[in-house]
Subunit: 469 residues, 2 copies
């Protein structure tokens, strides 16, 4: 915390020049909160650097003053990582935006960290490529935030998490040192790959200022189907068989369990896609390519599964309208906060071999919580990732604690993770020990201590605040 | 270095039990050298732990004595990382071998670090899956070594480097602490992913004792072709077009330049596959899947490129025999050491957009080295990785230094890497600064200092030895 914030503001202002440092009432509400649902809280100072060099100068000054810094991108995080606390200096990357280069032969894109993901995606598409990172917040979230949180999303099955799409990074360390490896190559074993440390560490080890992404070929001939399964086991069998029949072409496999469909297709909701109510509805997409016969092969393959009884029913999209309608079942979740009672929301991973068990446990244990408690579960199951909401009309903090205990208990019993893709931030920090052992957390603390000995970068996120880091 | 190696041997022997600690003439020659071509050198002590707990006890003892340790797996490394120096204690993982679990629903395999890669591959295949890591040394190299060196190989294009195939690790730190994250899930953002630090750091930060791999579906309906290109640009165009036409199906794209084919098909060598002598011959494989028509689609696609003039000529394998013959051109390289004059060998990466330039520079600059200097170049070009050998009948150390200067000069000029897949070890350590900046190397040193403050683990590999790490 700055001992003298007036001196700090003056020094920052003098170093960065006019208009880039604000304080008090001049700080827009945009910088008061991220998307985690915590009460808005203004930072003491807001800095909006325009260059890596300015980020470096700003961190050098804050580090010298022992001033805590919160790093801000698109403010779409769900774990409170970018949410200001105490009298923090917010460093927002919003003025560092833009695509710097697309190398169409190497298939790479270089962007400043504050560039919105949607802009990165559009630039890749315009150059004839495809960006492997995609998530619902694409319009607001930034590529730097995506990298810092190792973002997931709907196409991880095919393109991996953010980590797999990153080839190079530029990062500013807490003391202002700049690390640059704007690597464009798939293979580079020249010493430790330090970039890995900054992917997914939620801004606690350094500030990502530039990103080099490897681009992918555009998915072509995309076919979509909505599939009804009698059991999770059948869905997994079909997932594996699709890999054999259509290798490398599956891009989406989004599962919605019975309870999810009941809410989506409840009173005033959407029409039920199937006449019966299957255990699981899966939205499935495959990029069949430019060559002729792709659509036929997709249909024949699903037809085979139907004949074998692995699929209960399947609808194949015949038009972009159909495809949009299929996606609207999956996207109905964005309405749930409005139409459902309050509750707790979880982003967990469970090994695929235990996932059916996890859902069965959720059913039994939610029922045991009380007559009005209800849950929904859906997610990117091919990646082991499910999103769970547990709700109750009488929801309060005590009930929230019981819901957490139930869900994290299942995670711990089945060898899962308390955070599949949203990260730890502040909201899940008290639970880190449920997914990580004491020696693991100790090593995380050692790494933090090494790279940020003053504990100025996003303090209290991921790891506990404390006298010593 | 142990101050009193007799005391050290006694303590190791007492802790690990009989038969696991050897010294002097009892140390087999197998443990005297790796595959880097350095003169054999016996370790002072050889320890062959049977369990993670024994590895931990052994490191705790060595750390307390300040005894330098060299970590050994299959001894197939090409950079000298496992090659003993001075009076080191060799810790060989050879007795820690075996597949512990295959989870067929999650699609994961858990193995002890000393398990040979070929055994991992066979176990995955028997369970109906495919291991994404493959390289020529598969019979001898170990999965722990593959992870520690972030091994590449022939199928990186499709399955990535070792890093992308690792889901979980168990690692013993220099002081004997055991870090365990036998994660089976594609997504896990619960805190820093510390496993990334131990992948590719060549045993300098910890000893990998267990590995969880994500498995892939078996490639089915594999089609092979040998293609002749008039230019590198045409080859890259075909590579991109194949991604569009046959998304996700390309698994091999191995390029052999004109000079490589001249050696392979020289006097007493193999028959030239094409009547003319193309700039580039590419061995290309695609997994077309189980569905009918895969072979036809493969042939039609290549036929289209021929008609367009992107391909000069193409041979399609009609039998396993044909396929083996195509591969024999690529595997001829294992004969080169025998039939060619001595020389220097390089494993470099160059951004794809500069690769044609790199080969042109190699041609001009090798010619300028002298009338008998010659080079060959081949490699996994889709991954930016080429292997270069520069040779001369009068090869000696001074000439080797000139060859290095030439090749690493091109790497530096074109923004490449001095090590694509083989690692740094001891052989490339003096050149690390050609691919990494001073701040990058300083951060590597800080990480090493944090995790191995006594500098006992593989000292002098990757980073310089020294009083302070």
């Amino acid at each position: 915390m700055p001992t003298n914030s007036h001196t700090l503001i003056e020094e920052l202002d003098g170093s960065l020049g006019p208009g880039l440092v604000r304080s008090g009432a001049d700080i827009p509400q945009r910088n008061w909160q991220d998307a985690a649902g915590i009460d808005p809280h203004p930072p003491a100072i807001l800095v909006m650097p325009r260059s890596t060099e300015q980020v470096a100068r700003c961190l050098e000054i804050c580090n010298r003053h022992g001033a805590a810094v919160v790093v801000q991108g698109g403010m779409t995080g769900l774990a409170g990582g970018a949410h200001p606390q105490g009298r923090e200096v917010a460093i927002s990357l919003e003025r560092m935006s833009g695509i710097e280069e697309i190398d169409t032969i190497s298939g790479t894109l270089t962007a400043l960290a504050g560039t919105p993901l949607a802009e990165v995606q559009a630039a890749a598409a315009e150059a004839g490529f495809f960006c492997g990172i995609d998530l619902g917040a694409r319009g607001s979230c930034t590529i730097g935030g995506n990298v810092s949180t190792n973002a997931g999303g709907n196409q991880v099955l095919r393109y991996g998490m953010a980590r797999r799409n990153v080839l190079g990074l530029e990062v500013v360390l807490a003391d202002g040192r700049v690390l640059t490896s704007l690597n464009k190559m798939l293979k580079n074993n020249a010493g430790y790959d330090w970039t890995q440390l900054f992917i997914g560490s939620e801004g606690t080890l350094g500030i990502v200022t530039r990103v080099v992404l490897g681009l992918h070929p555009k998915p072509r001939g995309v076919q979509s189907a909505l599939c009804a399964f009698a059991s999770f086991e059948d869905a997994i069998t079909v997932l594996r068989r699709l890999d054999d029949a259509l290798p490398g072409r599956l891009i989406v496999f989004e599962a919605m369990w019975r309870e999810y469909m009941d809410v989506t297709c409840g009173p005033g909701g959407m029409a039920r896609p199937f006449t019966d109510e299957p255990e699981l509805v899966v939205l499935l997409e495959a990029a069949m390519g430019d060559a002729e016969g792709g659509a036929d092969l997709f249909e024949e393959t699903l037809g085979g599964f139907l004949e074998e009884g692995l699929l209960v029913d399947a609808l194949i999209a015949r038009s972009e309208n159909d495809r949009a309608r299929f996606w609207s079942y999956r996207e109905a979740v964005y309405e749930f906060r409005r139409i459902l009672p309050k509750g707790s929301h979880f982003d967990i991973s469970i090994p695929l071999s235990r996932l059916a068990e996890a859902v069965a446990m959720l059913r039994t244990r939610t029922a045991a919580l009380g007559p009005d408690a209800a849950f929904i579960v859906f997610g990117h199951v091919a990646d082991s990732n499910i999103h769970v909401s547990v709700r109750d009309p009488a929801y309060d903090a005590a009930m929230g604690a019981r819901f957490e205990e139930m869900v994290y208990g299942i995670v711990a019993e089945l060898g899962g993770s308390i955070s599949a893709e949203h990260g730890i931030g502040v909201l899940k920090r008290p639970h880190l020990g449920k997914s990580r052992s004491a020696p693991e957390i100790e090593v995380m603390r050692q790494i933090k201590q090494t790279l940020d000995p003053g504990n100025i970068l996003n303090p209290g996120r991921v790891l506990p605040r404390g006298e010593r880091v």
